[in-house]
């Protein structure tokens, strides 16, 4: 598959949020986490959500994943399947690496032989062939995140939500995992909604970078990333656009000064 196919704009919306609000609690203690957020993610798109603390990025993902209820507006994912990855790999220590990847298949009632085969394929995709019999704690943080990715892929979801998945990793590992994620996204034809507070990471990965304000979370600006792929996180082009977005983000943070 050529890179060009992916830079083409596709019109089919996979995730559609219109004026979505989310409020926790009620009355005087109510906290408005998201305020009339509108956002559309198209099929095959890689969208990065960026914001400072308290912008409700994670709340937004929980809503899209259906783990939480919206307070207002409309959220439409057209009944598509969603998977969510966290900052922690959160693998189950009582299962082997392959067992963790097989778990979603097991829950779907897929037979043992088929599960084994599929798990092996998924581990191959994240370049962990031969690690199936290991225990999660025997792997490094980056490897565990790849297992978590394989587990998410096993759900066969149309939309992959990622909540700062590389936040806890060192720079080198993160850099390599960016390449890996980009490759898998392209090969598996995924739609990704990726939350981060790392501006360069957002520009490195996204087709678009959506900037959210803090308390309450609102969409401030939607930056299309025009750099062709593959990109490098340390390229001048990525750095240049990251600087532009960082300025905007800083202005937003300064707004909260006393």
């Amino acid at each position: 598959m050529s890179l060009l196919e992916h830079t083409e704009v596709r019109t089919d919306a996979v995730v559609r949020l219109e004026n979505v609000s989310k409020q926790y609690g009620s009355g005087a203690h109510a906290l408005l986490a998201l305020d009339r957020v509108s956002l559309t993610v198209r099929q095959g798109e890689f969208v990065c959500l960026l914001g400072a603390s308290g912008c409700g990025k994670s709340t937004l993902l929980s809503l899209v994943a259906g783990l939480d209820q919206i307070s207002g507006g409309t959220l439409d994912i057209g009944g598509r399947k969603v998977s969510l990855m966290f900052q922690e790999a959160a693998l189950f220590p009582w299962l082997s690496v392959a067992g963790n990847v097989e778990l979603p298949l097991r829950l779907q009632g897929i037979g043992k032989a088929e599960r084994k085969k599929r798990a092996a394929e998924l581990l191959e995709i994240v370049r962990l062939r031969g690690f199936g019999d290991k225990r999660p704690h025997e792997l490094s943080g980056g490897m565990r995140q790849r297992v978590a990715l394989a587990r998410a892929l096993a759900q066969d979801a149309d939309i992959l939500l990622m909540d700062e998945p590389f936040g806890a990793l060192d720079a080198m590992t993160r850099d390599i995992l960016h390449d890996e994620l980009e490759r898998i996204w392209r090969e598996q034809d995924l739609t990704v909604l990726f939350v981060t507070h790392n501006v360069r990471e957002a520009v490195r990965l996204g087709d678009r970078v959506v900037l959210l304000s803090s308390r309450p979370g609102r969409v401030i600006e939607d930056f299309p990333v025009t750099q062709g792929r593959p990109r490098r996180i340390d390229s001048p082009e990525v750095a240049g656009q990251a600087a532009e977005i960082t300025d905007r983000l800083r202005a937003e943070v300064a707004r909260h000064a006393n």
Binding site: S83, W94, R127, R135, L139, S140, M172, I176, E180
Partner: protein, 288 residues
């Protein structure tokens, strides 16, 4: 068709993986490892024996009240070479195991029910903890009134002593399933029985095992108290034999039975620790 960059990328990934995985360390042969674990224990035993011997030598009590290690170990050797003794051990261990398994069954059911239903927890949650702190010997007068001098009286106390620990182990295991795992369960769409089967029960296993371990300790203590207090005719358990030795003012024999009970306790503890350690190692919960 793997392109040159793809190959290079793949090499980067596997290179990083190899660097990040800790190299295997040599822990020495089994023999040296066993020796490393054993010699401090042997030394401790030697110190205790020496202290004991010194007290005997000091003449604090006459020899027939406090015999020295040599006398006791000679008696112990005589005792454990009789088949009669092993019948007693078998009887005591059968009681212990039956009572413990019964306590595990009851404790598990009660623990699962309490953690599942909030009103039940409000009703008896703190009662379970209260029962745990209750000295089991306090139950014997009631047990004897209810069941007379019988096996049932002993079982009653053993079970009531151990079941709360088992229940509590399960309850706290279920309560403290890490939030991130619960979120993963949600994301994977686990509900009802599948959630218990694939997430809650395995996740609560370490706490459940410590509950079992504590439950065993309580049931073993209750059983020993029971065997001294509730002497069922014809059942020559370890406790009964010890009581008989006391009636005959045979200090040496009493100490022999103390040693036997201690050794059984230690051996069972070793088994529980082995299970606990195996689990910790499998889960990667060990410090190293």
């Amino acid at each position: 068709m793997p392109t040159e960059t793809a190959v290079a990328e793949s090499a980067e990934v596997s290179g990083l993986d190899n660097l990040e995985l800790a190299p295997k360390t040599d822990k020495g042969t089994i023999g040296t490892r066993i020796w490393k674990n054993t010699w401090p224990k042997l030394l401790a035993v030697a110190i205790v024996l020496l202290a004991w011997q010194i007290v005997v030598w000091s003449g604090w009590k006459p020899e027939y009240v406090l015999p020295g290690p040599q006398t006791v170990f000679t008696d112990l050797k005589d005792v454990i070479t009789t088949g009669d003794f092993w019948d007693g051990v078998r009887l005591t261990l059968t009681r212990a195991l039956t009572g413990f398994l019964l306590a595990v069954a009851i404790g598990t059911v009660v623990g699962a029910a309490v953690s599942r239903f909030a009103p039940l927890r409000a009703a008896i949650g703190s009662l379970i903890t209260g029962l745990q702190t209750m000295p089991s010997i306090m139950w014997f007068p009631l047990a004897i009134l209810l069941f007379q001098i019988s096996e049932s009286a002993i079982m009653f106390v053993v079970v009531i002593g151990a079941a709360p620990s088992v229940a509590n182990g399960l309850i706290s295991g279920i309560d403290y399933v890490p939030r991130t795992w619960l979120r993963v369960g949600q994301v994977l769409g686990m509900k009802g029985i599948a959630k218990y089967r694939h997430l809650i029960l395995p996740a609560s296993l370490p706490s459940f095992i410590s509950g079992l371990k504590q439950g065993w300790a309580f049931s073993w203590r209750s059983l020993m108290a029971g065997e001294l207090l509730v002497i069922v005719p014809g059942a020559l358990s370890i406790g009964v034999r010890m009581q008989q030795a006391r009636d005959l003012s045979d200090s040496s024999l009493v100490i022999c039975y103390i040693i036997v009970v201690l050794v059984i306790g230690i051996l069972i503890d070793v088994i529980f620790n082995a299970a606990d350690n195996a689990l910790r190692k499998r889960w990667g919960l060990t410090g190293s």
